[in-house]
């Protein structure tokens, strides 16, 4: 079949027609080989314009279409639909941007026209080398796996089930609720946390759309967005439970830093040096006491325990330390509380207020090189003050405000799911701004403190964000369309050097050990083309941005 290229130039009202001599463009490209028709139209993106194009394609039996108009970001899709309606493959089309990057950047009409001609010619030469691409549609499963039964996982699950999605919630301990169940109150509102968490657990239990696995761990996650195959292993059970989901939410939360790694605080050595979680539990039990049962008369709270080791600020320690001051002063009216800190982290509208309301009940000692020893039954805190002057304070009890760190099994999970870990070993989001809850694996989301130290409120926001993304991208009955402009590696040309593998940010290229060649999983390839540029032998290429297509375009442009 012979090639018949139709070239249409949009006047875009005055936008283009006043800056570009369209007739000159028409003259210049008409003589190019395989060009069947060249014409102009006042506004191609209008419904009349689209109709006009559609009829033209049919009338002239065009095989390829070039439209010189606005930015592809504006109307590439529009004209691709026109192609489809007219019965030619939408990828046998090229849009030329003669508005944003041509008509609008110069007052000199001749120059603009010259550029418009070059770009249009380049597109015509490129489109000759276009190949039809078939849109793939994949059935998708709209169920969701949520890993972690803390507040983050619970909130995400609630959002999903309330939209009638089926959710599998996997929790590795014997009950859901997570860290919150250890807290009496939450900052800064000082409301009982039981109220918050229990009511959420309640509404989960009452929902038939949710399946909760406690004492369970995720063993295997295979497949891709819309079609994940999951294996969950329940403790004490032989066979793993298998089910399919369309998306995965990782909400495995965090641990606190083990103060044993900072011996200067004497944790584990002295009875009355305890970490923040131990104190939460003690407080929840209703009685704050020393090992010997006595009530502490003086308590020191040491901030930033593990910060230097971790090399990041855990964001919430200052706030929960202030909360501890409230616990203490409520339960032991005459107690003397001292906070040893280096910097205070009090972002946002409510935190500062909480600090103001609390600071009256405690001393704040800005200190460094804090060291704890025991002196005749009491704990002695040696430190340097702001001026560097050595000083010390004797107290009954020391609470260590430990840093927040990823759970010990984070890397194992990262392995299983194929997620990357970022700074400090927390799970890495796809992009701090553009993709704050998605990950490099499409359909896998990360929320809460498994991604970064977080307050409860921030965690809720993320959980709801992830749920929102899932609800909008995985709709029952709607098929998902994976990217079609994806990488392809020629089996016969691939030399198996794994260069493409090393540069792929998404791990969608695997190595066939038996054939010793690289293979792309086209269903999840994002189509950046990095592998194509890296491959020395041209075995890897990227559909719709092939070597030929780009070469032809650039050679015509510089002609």
């Amino acid at each position: 079949m012979t090639m018949k290229i139709g070239v249409y130039i949009c006047e875009c009202g005055p936008n283009i027609s006043e800056k570009v001599d369209i007739d000159k463009v028409i003259d210049a490209v008409s003589s190019m080989s395989d060009v069947a028709v060249v014409d102009r139209y006042k506004l191609l993106c209008s419904s009349d314009g689209k109709k006009f194009l559609e009829e033209e394609i049919k009338k002239h039996g065009l095989t390829h279409l070039v439209v010189s108009a606005c930015s592809p970001k504006q109307h590439e899709k529009t004209f691709m639909e026109v192609c489809e309606n007219a019965g030619i493959n939408p990828y046998l089309f090229q849009i030329v941007n003669i508005r944003e990057q041509c008509a609008w950047i110069t007052e000199d009409k001749d120059e603009a026209t010259e550029k418009a001609i070059r770009l249009t010619k380049a597109a015509i030469r490129r489109v000759r080398y276009h190949a039809p691409l078939e849109k793939k549609e994949i059935e998708c499963n709209t169920d969701v796996l949520v890993i972690g039964g803390g507040i983050a996982g619970i909130e995400a699950s609630l959002q999903l089930v309330s939209a009638n999605r089926k959710v599998y919630l996997v929790e590795k301990t014997q009950s859901i609720g997570g860290l919150l169940t250890n807290f009496e109150k939450t900052f800064p509102d000082m409301q009982p946390s039981s109220a918050l968490i229990n009511q959420k657990i309640q509404s989960l239990n009452n929902n038939e759309n949710i399946k909760v696995f406690t004492d369970s761990e995720v063993e295997e996650v295979l497949g891709f967005f819309g079609n994940f195959e999951i294996k969950v292993k329940k403790k004490a059970e032989e066979e793993p439970i298998e089910f399919d989901v369309g998306a995965v939410v990782v909400a495995t939360g965090s641990n606190i830093f083990d103060p044993k790694k900072t011996p200067q605080y004497g944790y584990g050595k002295f009875d009355n040096v305890i970490n923040s979680l131990e104190f939460e539990k003690m407080n929840l039990s209703g009685k704050i006491s020393l090992k010997n049962g006595k009530i502490p008369k003086s308590v020191a709270i040491i901030h930033c325990v593990g910060r230097n080791e971790k090399k990041y600020c855990s964001e919430i320690c200052c706030m929960y330390s202030l909360k501890f001051v409230r616990y203490l002063t409520n339960k032991i009216p005459d107690v003397k509380v001292s906070n040893f800190y280096s910097d205070l982290c009090l972002p946002g509208k409510s935190y500062q207020k909480f600090y103001e309301q609390t600071k009256g009940n405690t001393d704040f000692v800005r200190s460094m090189d804090v060291k704890i020893t025991e002196k005749d039954g009491k704990l002695n805190i040696e430190y340097k003050d702001e001026t560097g002057k050595k000083s010390d304070l004797s107290v009954d009890m020391v609470i260590l405000s430990s840093a927040i760190e990823p759970t010990s099994d984070a890397s194992k999970l990262a392995e299983i799911i194929g997620m990357s870990q970022g700074d400090g070993g927390f799970f890495a989001e796809e992009h701090e701004k553009l993709g704050p809850v998605s990950t490099s694996t499409e359909g896998v989301y990360v929320v809460g403190s498994s991604q970064d130290p977080k307050s409860i409120s921030e965690t809720m926001v993320q959980s709801e964000a992830a749920a929102g993304e899932i609800l909008s991208s995985l709709v029952p009955g709607k098929k998902i369309e994976p990217e079609v402009k994806v990488s392809h590696i020629s089996e016969s040309l691939c030399t198996g050097c794994k260069t493409c593998l090393s540069v792929c940010s998404y791990g969608v290229i695997t190595f066939n050990e038996e054939k010793k060649i690289s293979v792309v999983n086209e269903a999840i390839c994002r189509g950046c083309g990095n592998c194509a540029a890296a491959c020395p032998s041209g075995a890897a290429t990227i559909k719709h941005f092939t070597f030929d297509q780009i070469y032809q375009e650039l050679m015509e442009a510089v002609k």
């Binding site: 930015s71 592809p72 970001k73 941007n97 508005r99 944003e100 990057q101 041509c102 008509a103 609008w104 950047i105 110069t106 007052e107 000199d108 120059e111 603009a112 010259e114 550029k115 070059r118 770009l119 380049a122 796809e430 992009h431 701004k433 553009l434 490099s440 402009k485 540069v503 940010s505 998404y506 994002r526 189509g527 950046c528 083309g529 990095n530 194509a532 540029a533 890296a534 990227i542 941005f545 070597f547 780009i550 070469y551 375009e553 650039l554 050679m555 442009a557 510089v558 002609k559």
Partner: protein, 143 residues
């Protein structure tokens, strides 16, 4: 060989779809003026730009080649532009070492909002190319 006519350079600009191409669009929509010598070629990610494309463009007669992508850390594909940067530096070094003009090649980071920067880069680079002069490869028949 063909006679040189008055010199208005042809500069190829490989623009990544998500940042730099959008940035170039913004430059247009805000009617910033810059030389039309710049001929954009859209790629999804700057990491698609095979150094051989740049070489072909140069030998094919391009007076300059600009590669523009998202700022480091902001790549729509996470890390693509870090590889782009290495490949580009490598190519530029090769060009320099074989006695060609490395300043015909430029890499820039232009975000989707940086219309200003794009116009600035385009103007500066075109000026630079005018100094460097016409690409002698265009008249070479024994390539």
């Amino acid at each position: 060989m063909k006679k040189d006519e008055e010199f208005n350079p042809k500069i190829l600009a490989f623009l990544c779809n998500w940042c730099s191409y959008a940035g170039a669009d913004i430059a247009g929509t805000s009617r910033l003026q810059y030389p039309p010598a710049i001929l954009p070629i859209r790629v999804m990610c700057s990491s698609r730009v095979d150094p051989l494309f740049i070489l072909r463009a140069y030998l094919g007669g391009a007076d300059g080649v600009l590669v523009a992508g998202c700022h480091p850390g902001d790549c729509h594909y996470q890390e693509g532009n870090y590889y782009t940067r290495r490949r580009f530096m490598m190519l530029k070094k090769v060009v320099e070492e074989v006695g060609l003009e490395p300043n015909r090649f430029r890499l820039s980071w232009v975000s989707a909002s940086e219309g200003q920067k794009y116009a600035k880069v385009a103007t500066e680079f075109t000026g630079k190319i005018k100094e460097v002069g016409k690409n002698p490869a265009i008249n070479e028949i024994f390539l």
